[in-house]
Symmetry: C2
DNA sequence: TTGTTTTGCACAATCGATTGTGCAACAATG
DNA sequence: CATTGTTGCACAATCGATTGTGCAAAACAA
């Protein structure tokens, strides 16, 4: 039985009917095409028996539908994107779409190449998560008539659903200020922002929320309080080490802009004597289950993945992606009242 | 310019040539089909200009090739599978395959349904990672002539590449024994195994390695030292709480069988006074970057994802998947010498 | 019985790209 | 000039499923 994948023609011959009849039965159009109940049963039995699977290339070609929905994400390396993948698959399956998740490594060239490939497979919808260049992606989708939404990082050509980064950063910053202990040395008596990229919208909004809250609660913000050193653990580690040496110790508080950056921070902190760490209060924008049980407490902001993607699907569902609105979803604060 | 996706026929008309000429140019067969250099250049220019993308449904149908390689994984929720996704995508791209990763939630029905759908899209290869029923998946692939390899959990119908769970568990168990402090109370002076499923091969091998080492170094193993309570954090939390109450405290050491189970364990331990935790040595089969910086040390076994998948690709590359061998890859110990 | 409807299905065109083949136009050779 | 080769491309069949249409046979009506 190790035959080639069989076609509806093979099945048709076995059943003694025509291919169009088989097609009608298998695609549930038997009633509409007035196929006798006995014929339907027979074809279904044979299809089952021979483990027949439709060729979706052929089907998709004929119907100009692929049944595919794509999502691009930057990386698979943290909980936020893991949760996005999981929720995406669930929501897609609920709608009888077949989900494809691909990571594009924050590489603009790979990003657009990936999208073009997805389009060549004729995906019908695309969720564009954390894209470095959402507008290029949007244009490509538009040229193919493919519904699309930006998530996490917004674009200007399609509706975007993003975390309320400004509000989240304000809350986290305020909590860091309230829960940290003042320090005598002026430069150390500050909260420092570490990680992310200043070219990236989410980081900009978080920096803004951070700066406003610091200004309101502690006076001015100094330029050197903000180091959007990038999205790699190593870079954050280097950045923190430099800060530590500059200040001659840890500062009053740290606002870490991603769990990846937090990884680097943790690597540096682990090497310090525990006593030093007690004086520094740490917060992280994004959540990780283990980070909540580190040897020092970490205040965390958890993005509402279900709400973000739920809204994104609603938008592709009703085709309201073209009006380029910005929808903001409040994240969840993973720290109780003082 | 918001036209429908254009076809090679549209492009042919624009260029004043036939569709077959366009096809030859775009698929790099211009030389073989003796297309004039000037014609090639013109077609390429127009293709570029109009951002033409080939319809891979049509192309795949005609050539009986899709260019797709699939991988199924159980979940997106831990580092092992995240790293698998990332490495899979990289290795696939190196080979000019287009990668599709789908999670099947450890649900046998979803698993086989997913594989059938992937087959209906005519994927050409499949990496079957951590499948609950690898042999059913293998049979489906075989029926379609699709190359496939099992990874992480082995099957009997295709070659499997798995972590050397037995060896890894032995190393981890020995380290737990050597690094932990003996306890007076007999039942607490033991290492306990928590998490995973005893129906699952990896867990069986780890339990075996654990039991052998315990027997060799500490005498007999008691049945109640092993609780393969499942793959959810909640279950591990419940299991550990029960153990704690049964023993009247934490045991000498814990062998946690996955980072997910470790999440539950950590939730329980966080609620305990720190002094109690100091006496319990913890090890985890699987690695997480944050888990290495918890408030208590965790010995970890990190699977060699690159080697696992590298080997898997080698096997699909040379088509040696049918001999149903078992290839074991040693994991990496994330703890130094004593 | 004859005419009309309904039932049940087959036929053939089609989706868009690929590929074996055929054939002008031109060049090279004798 | 006649013959043979080469170049450059078009034509048409094909992949497997879908779907508009047509047409016997059966069922029903008159």
């Amino acid at each position: 039985m190790r035959k080639r994948a069989s076609t509806i023609y093979d099945l048709a011959e076995l059943a003694g009917v025509s291919a169009s009849t088989v097609s009608a039965v298998l695609s549930g159009k038997a009633k509409a095409r007035r196929i006798a109940a006995a014929t339907v049963a027979n074809v279904q039995r044979l299809a089952e028996l021979h483990k027949f699977t439709l060729n979706r290339q052929a089907s998709g070609l004929r119907r100009s539908r692929s049944g595919l929905i794509g999502m691009i994400i930057p990386m698979h390396d943290n909980r936020f994107f893991s949760e996005m993948s999981r929720a995406f698959e669930r929501l897609a399956r609920e709608r009888h779409w077949y989900p494809i998740v691909v990571s594009t490594l924050r590489d603009p060239a790979l990003e657009i190449e990936t999208v073009n490939t997805l389009l060549s497979y004729r995906i019908e919808q695309l969720i564009v998560t954390g894209a470095t260049d959402p507008d290029s992606v949007g244009r490509a989708c538009r040229a193919h008539g493919v519904a699309h939404v930006n998530v996490d990082l917004p674009g200007t050509t399609a509706t975007s659903v993003v975390s309320d980064n400004h509000w989240g950063a304000q809350q986290l910053t305020r909590a860091l200020i309230e829960r940290s202990k003042p320090m005598k040395q002026r430069a150390r008596n500050r909260i420092y922002f570490v990680g992310g990229l200043s070219t990236d919208y989410a980081t900009q909004r978080r920096v803004a929320g951070f700066a406003e809250t610091v200004t309101a609660d502690m006076g001015a913000v100094h330029q050197e309080q903000i180091d959007a050193c990038g999205y790699e653990a190593d870079l954050a580690e280097v950045s923190l080490r430099a800060l530590y040496e500059r200040l001659g110790g840890l500062p009053r508080g740290l606002f870490i802009n991603s769990t990846i950056a937090l990884e680097g921070v943790v690597r540096f902190l682990k090497a310090l004597p525990p006593s030093q760490m007690g004086a520094c209060t740490i917060g992280c924008y994004d959540w990780d289950p283990f980070a909540s049980a580190l040897s020092f407490p970490v205040l965390m902001v958890r993005q509402d993945v279900e709400a973000l993607l739920g809204e994104a699907f609603r938008i592709v569902d009703n085709g309201t992606f073209a009006d380029a609105r910005l929808v903001e979803i409040k994240p969840q604060l993973m720290f109780g009242p003082l």
